[in-house]
């Protein structure tokens, strides 16, 4: 962790404009609306983009669409959460399957000593990647819950979605249902 009093957090949503592969960017957009201003939020088109942004970062949180992710019971909409290092992320195949994939990027950063001490990866099970398509109906229905679940980690003490926080006297209650372990 850096010597500064406030640890620096980077959230990176990896995605593309193609169907469910949008989810990383959509989560980044949504988080921007209510995350603390000291949290850096970025959209990446390829996992290797992350390598440009790690300097001085203490916590890295990544969200990417995935296919063939390991089975999980972590949520009722197939949101997977891993804390690096984990063998499960190593088997994750990103929908945005560029050759230097997310596991390789994390391993490389680790090897070079640039990987932040805390790395959390969210994999969102994806159904369709049609060019310029919107999210599939199932994922669209789960989008808010996914954002809210990821926001718990991004916080790390979430100040709440602006509107909901105001309505709730500043207290934010995620609406996620069915979550089991946070440490899949």
């Amino acid at each position: 962790m850096s010597s500064q009093s406030q640890p620096r957090t980077l959230f990176a949503g990896i995605g593309s404009p193609h169907g469910d592969d949008r989810i990383g960017w959509l989560v980044a957009d949504a988080l921007r609306e209510f995350a603390r201003t000291d949290i850096e939020i970025r959209e990446a088109a390829t996992p290797s983009d992350l390598l440009d942004w790690l300097e001085g970062i203490d916590r890295l949180i990544v969200c990417d669409a995935c296919t063939s992710a390991p089975s999980t019971t972590s949520t009722d909409h197939a949101l997977h959460r891993w804390e690096w290092p984990t063998q499960e992320v190593a088997t994750l195949r990103s929908a945005n399957s560029h050759a230097f994939g997310l596991p390789q990027v994390l391993q490389l950063a680790e090897r070079l000593g640039t990987l932040p001490p805390v790395v959390i990866v969210f994999g969102v099970a994806a159904e369709s990647f049609d060019a310029f398509a919107e999210l599939s109906p199932n994922l669209a229905a789960a989008q808010d819950a996914i954002v809210q679940r990821i926001a718990i980690d991004v916080g790390p003490v979430p100040t709440g979605r602006r509107n909901e926080a105001n309505a709730n006297n500043g207290r934010w209650e995620p609406a996620l249902r069915g979550e089991a372990s946070r440490n899949a």
């Binding site: 593309s16 404009p17 193609h18 959209e43 990446a44 088109a45 390829t46 290797s48 983009d49 390598l51 440009d52 945005n96 399957s97 560029h98 050759a99 230097f100 390789q104 391993q107 490389l108 090897r111 070079l112 990647f129 049609d130 060019a131 310029f132």
Partner: protein, 434 residues
């Protein structure tokens, strides 16, 4: 009777996108070599029809996360031809600067993380980082410079949004560009070291008689403009591209292959073709380096494309520094035009090679036809032919080693299979393979 063997590489590692390789042998006789593409087709060309021509640059930029500028540049130049727009010298120069950013980002990534491992006796960029941490860190810094330049010029690094038909939506601020200079001055020296480093790698002694094709311009190292030159014939105008080069369907791939129009002979596009055809138009330090790296140009060894990339990396830094130093804000940043029915085409040089676009638009400014020929689809046939020659040298008892050796050759082309946009309908290629 000779033993029949099949070698399959289900997913090519360190290749952008999804592709596979299929090799069938009868003893030592090569029966079949196929580079398969099985990424779900993306119907970008169909998707563009009916869209406003102003949307095309942003839509095509999203075809690939690695080389959005290449798609944008070919698109806007083609559409400017269709609308009779002549851009100013200032806009033209800024577009070259933007392309420099993409070449730096893409070449640095490919050289250090995807290709150098093949010559360093390691299996991945991660392993390479263990043996060559300084070189890999250097490569990552260079890659970052490219992205930072794209961010200043393009509005953002990922899928730049500032490129418009007629110019740029907003000219960059001088101070924003000047702020990049210290990094770029360091980067130029680092790029030279990188080029020298890759020249020391050990390359297989493998040369072929290629028909190499790239843009050529009388006054500059061609990026955005020029005639389509070839190492085996006369240069032709970009407007004649489809007369001389043709796409065709092969059953094992959902992407179209390209070949010479008469007989579909293969050709080779990419940095090696560019350097071979434009050696004397490299910037001074890149040109000097070309003499130092121990190659008697033209070079016909595809493995040494990594050296050509190194020279272009140096070139891109040198040119970028010159443009940034001379830059003065200008107006208008975008040339106005009125919609009218028209057609236009353009070819530019993506990091991986020549990329050709053609569009037709109606008097309301809507696209009625789009054709995109990316570099990887042009190189596909060439890669298969290379593999036929390469295979006898790498046939071992160990199929997995043979497969790895074949992958090495494929990676020389830095194929971006997700960029092979010109897909056919799935119904055409299902169930028809022999």
């Amino acid at each position: 009777m000779a033993e029949a063997r099949t070698i399959k590489v289900e997913a090519l590692t360190r290749v952008e996108g999804e592709g596979g390789l299929f090799i069938r042998l009868d003893g030592d006789r090569i029966e079949d070599v196929k580079l398969s593409i099985y990424e779900p087709p993306r119907f970008f060309e169909a998707f563009l029809r009916g869209r406003r021509l102003e949307e095309v640059a942003d839509i095509t930029a999203r075809i690939c996360g690695i080389c959005p500028v290449a798609y944008q540049m070919s698109a806007v130049h083609a559409l400017e031809m269709a609308q009779g727009v002549t851009i100013s010298p200032e806009i033209r120069r800024l577009r070259r600067l933007l392309y420099c950013g993409e070449w730096i980002e893409s070449h640095a990534l490919h050289m250090h993380l995807l290709h150098a491992p093949d010559f360093a006796g390691v299996d991945s960029g991660i392993e390479l980082a263990e043996h060559f941490p300084d070189e890999v860190n250097r490569g990552l810094r260079l890659k970052k410079h490219g992205n930072e330049l794209l961010e200043v010029l393009g509005g953002r690094a990922i899928h730049p949004i500032n490129v418009a038909v007629g110019g740029f939506y907003r000219a960059p601020k001088k101070d924003d560009l000047l702020a990049l200079l210290p990094d770029f001055e360091w980067g130029l020296e680092a790029a030279i070291e990188t080029a020298r480093w890759v020249a020391t790698l050990t390359f297989p002694d493998f040369t072929r008689a290629y028909d190499m094709v790239a843009l050529q311009h009388p006054d500059e190292y061609a990026m955005n403009e020029g005639a389509i030159a070839s190492t085996s014939g006369k240069a032709v105008a970009v407007t004649d591209y489809e007369t001389h080069y043709e796409e065709f369907h092969v059953e094992h791939s959902t992407a179209l292959h390209s070949g010479r129009a008469n007989g579909h002979a293969s050709y080779h596009v990419g940095p090696l073709a560019r350097v071979n055809l434009n050696l004397d138009r490299l910037t001074p330090r890149a040109r000097q380096l070309a003499d130092e790296v121990g190659i008697d140009w033209p070079c016909w060894n595809p493995f040494q494309a990594i050296i050509a990339r190194g020279l272009e990396l140096v070139h891109a830094y040198e040119e970028a520094i010159e443009i940034i130093r001379d830059y003065q804000p200008f107006a208008p940043s975008r040339i106005d035009y009125e919609h009218h029915t028209g057609a236009g085409c353009a070819a530019t040089e993506a990091p991986r090679g020549l990329i050709y676009h053609r569009y037709e638009v109606d008097d309301a400014g809507l696209v009625t036809f789009a054709k995109i020929v990316p570099p990887t689809s042009q190189n596909q046939q060439q890669i298969e032919e290379d593999l036929r020659d390469w295979l006898p040298r790498v046939l071992h008892g160990d199929d997995s080693q043979t497969a790895r050796d074949c992958e090495r050759l494929v990676r020389c082309y830095d194929p971006c299979i997700s960029c092979s946009t010109h897909f056919l309908k799935l119904t055409i290629d299902r169930g028809e393979s022999s």
